[in-house]
């Protein structure tokens, strides 16, 4: 089928009819004929733009800096940013366009797992390298796809015992968003709770549009847990933190979260609603390192003092881009297979988020993980754990043995 597609693509006249011309939202810098094109597909509008905008900014800055430093292999880079408007349909459309029309060397894209799973088969089919740079539930096993975000075995594994120790509690109540990420992550929460001698009193799942947590808060009160763990996602779920504080429960039961802060929850809520919430990610803007301080200076210089706070999603996009760039340099070409092979040679990059190394067996990243506490609209980094392995995905995926695998495993968490 692939050869057929290629032949057609060559035969096809370049003329584009006026019909169905869904052009991208271009941010094109320079374009000489021998530019290396790369594409970013992140939501700049719609419900997910809060996650997407910093990712777009970081990627734009990364390409600008790379070009200022002379480009890659002596060629300039052209970044095409597509805005899928938080609509899954546009993800597939733009991924197809990036791969077939623009013939980009790499696509950095996707926020939700749904968007990733929309793009992944398209890019695999059209032989275009794919980087997914978001924290997610783990399990993707596809040689064409590199996942640089953290997965539960890297973050939740640290977060739960820390919270249990700090708050001196064993009974945990879990609130999770009702979709893949929440379902799978809550299983990991259960696993790590039990491994540390705790119990899960109850796990409740909430559709992403739920804003009324009244009955749930009463249920939590009745269950009397020692700790509440939030795996809530998105704008609607922010109302939980407000309602929780309004009932006065926040002073009584402490909270840890696998998601708080990624959507700037700590900026939107008030200190009395979020102080003391624990979270663990592969990056916090507050991480103290010279590389990070320097990067934030550049970032704010480019996008202004009020630029969106940097999250793991944004920073791993930066790391992802740089890993790809390093691999291209090593391979001496943008050819997809050669770059994949270069990345599989334990390619690593050290940046503002610490050191990120590609694990050749899973195409996930070995990362530095930070544990922090929300404090007055910022995070206070409490501890860091260097070079955490993607043990969850590694349990189900070995691309060295089975390079032709192509699926997302739902990791069977033994609980």
């Amino acid at each position: 089928m692939d050869t057929k597609l290629d032949r057609r693509r060559i035969l096809k006249a370049a003329a584009v009819g006026t019909a169905a011309a869904a052009g991208p939202w271009f941010i094109r810098d320079l374009h000489a004929a021998d530019d290396i094109k790369i594409a970013g597909i992140h939501d700049a509008s719609g419900g997910l733009d809060i996650y997407g905008r910093p990712m777009i900014d970081v990627l734009t800055l990364a390409v600008e800096e790379a070009n200022a430093a002379g480009g890659l292999l002596g060629r300039q880079l052209t970044l095409i940013n597509y805005d899928p408007q938080s609509n899954i349909q546009y993800y597939t459309q733009y991924a197809t366009e990036a791969a077939t029309k623009e013939k980009v060397a790499v696509v950095l894209a996707g926020i939700t797992s749904a968007s990733r799973e929309a793009i992944r088969p398209v890019l695999k089919r059209f032989n275009t390298l794919y980087f997914y740079n978001t924290q997610y539930e783990g399990g993707v096993c596809d040689r064409n796809c590199f996942c640089t975000g953290s997965t539960p075995a890297q973050t939740v594994e640290k977060l739960i015992p820390y919270a249990m120790k700090k708050f001196n509690g064993k009974k945990i109540y879990v609130l999770a968003a009702d979709y893949n990420y929440g379902q799978i992550t809550s299983k990991w929460v259960k696993k790590f709770t039990q491994e540390n001698g705790g119990t899960i009193v109850q796990t409740d799942f909430f559709p992403l549009d739920v804003t009324d947590f009244g009955p749930t808060i009463k249920k939590i009160q009745a269950a009397k847990p020692d700790i509440v763990v939030s795996v809530l996602v998105g704008g609607s779920h922010i109302s939980f933190y407000r309602q929780w504080a309004a009932t006065g429960m926040k002073k009584q039961i402490p909270m840890a979260s696998t998601t708080f802060g990624v959507g700037n929850e700590h900026v939107v809520t008030n200190p009395e609603e979020h102080n003391g919430i624990l979270a663990a990610y592969a990056y916090f803007q507050e991480v103290k390192s010279p590389a990070n301080a320097d990067y934030i200076k550049r970032y704010q210089k480019r996008f202004g003092e009020k630029a969106a706070p940097l999250t793991e999603l944004a920073m791993m996009t930066y790391h992802g881009f740089n890993l790809w760039a390093a691999a291209v340099k090593k391979a001496g070409t943008v050819d997809r297979m050669k770059v994949i092979e270069a990345l599989e040679g334990n390619m690593s990059f050290t940046g503002p988020g610490g050191k990120t190394t590609i694990d050749p067996a899973t195409h996930h990243a070995v990362l530095d993980v930070y544990l922090a506490e929300a404090q007055n609209r910022q995070f206070k980094v409490l501890e860091s754990f260097s070079q955490q392995k993607p043990a969850d995905t590694a349990a189900v995926c070995d691309l060295k043995k089975n390079p032709n695998e192509n699926q997302q495993y739902v990791i069977d968490v033994k609980v």
């Binding site: 509008s45 809060i50 799942f205 804003t211 009463k218 009745a222 609607s236």
Partner: protein, 288 residues
């Protein structure tokens, strides 16, 4: 025992909030037979009115009870003058036009305010009932809803404006022949309905946060509640809110929020199958 009390309080709160988000739509539907699908966006505008008023230093209660209803009421009047008044008697067309308005307002709000949840913290703190705690604000909310419905009833029953409104509602042609300007009545009614929606948005803001797309979550529920209630404004809204709100909350307690929502929707379908004219189409027919 405490749990029973707390569940009852939760049910009451749920009924009150359902009645609150529906009453603006009910006024417009009951008086004018117009289904305003931009209702959710009026709620959203009420929320933003509170956010911005408090940012500019207005007292929270003043912002919620005065600024937001006034602002959204004015928006309602503008909408009525520019769009709705050309479409009286064309129910489906008004639905489509207000649907368009809804999209327009969502888009405009996204462009102006950004697609980020903002909010204000709930005032008043919490109260303890036995082993349980609940937000005092939620209880005050119930009192406010009762006051709003009571006030609405009083206006319709006791004032001259109410009489005129009821007369126009019963028989527009007759009212017109008595020298009542139905045009003005409709304009004021639409404005009042919008103001009530704005009030709802303002009162909800501290609980759920404010987002350009927040209306979508309410419009379907309010729509279903109002239609299930039938044509009587207050009795209809109240009876349907009681039925649907308590079913929703109880199912949420027993099972999950999804089951709660689905229970509400199923109840509405069954209700409409049994009583195709809504609850007040069959019972409390003389009520307001």
């Amino acid at each position: 025992m405490d749990l029973v009390v707390i569940i009852i309080l939760q049910v009451i709160a749920a009924v009150a909030s359902l009645a609150l988000v529906s009453v603006g739509l009910a006024v417009i539907f009951g008086m004018m037979r117009v289904i305003n699908l931009a209702h959710g966006e009026f709620i959203m505008l009420g929320g933003y009115a509170v956010i911005y008023a408090t940012r500019w230093g207005v007292n929270l209660w003043v912002a919620m009870l005065l600024v937001a209803p006034l602002f959204v009421g004015v928006v309602g009047i503008v909408v009525e003058r520019t769009v709705i008044r050309f479409l009286y008697g064309r129910m489906i067309d008004t639905m489509l036009a207000t649907w368009g308005l809804s999209l327009l307002l969502i888009g405009a709000a996204t462009m102006i305010f950004g697609n980020t949840t903002t909010g204000v913290s709930a005032p008043l703190g919490s109260v303890t009932i036995g082993q349980y705690q609940t937000s005092l604000y939620e209880l005050v909310l119930v009192v406010i809803v009762v006051a709003v419905l009571g006030g609405l009833m009083a206006i319709l029953r006791l004032t001259k404006a109410g009489l005129i409104a009821r007369a126009t509602m019963q028989n527009p042609a007759m009212a017109a022949s008595l020298g009542i300007s139905t045009n003005t009545v409709y304009m004021v009614t639409f404005g009042a309905g919008a103001a009530l929606s704005g009030l709802a948005g303002a009162l909800i803001a501290p609980l759920s946060g404010v987002l350009p797309t927040m209306g979508v979550a309410y419009v379907a529920k309010a729509f279903i509640t109002v239609i299930s209630g039938g044509s009587a404004i207050i009795a209809g809204t109240l009876s349907a809110s009681m039925l649907l709100g308590s079913l929703n909350t109880l199912a949420t307690f027993v099972a999950t929020p999804v089951v709660g929502e689905i229970t509400l929707l199923f109840a509405a379908i069954v209700l409409l199958r049994i009583l195709p004219q809504g609850i007040t189409g069959r019972f409390f027919r003389r009520a307001l």
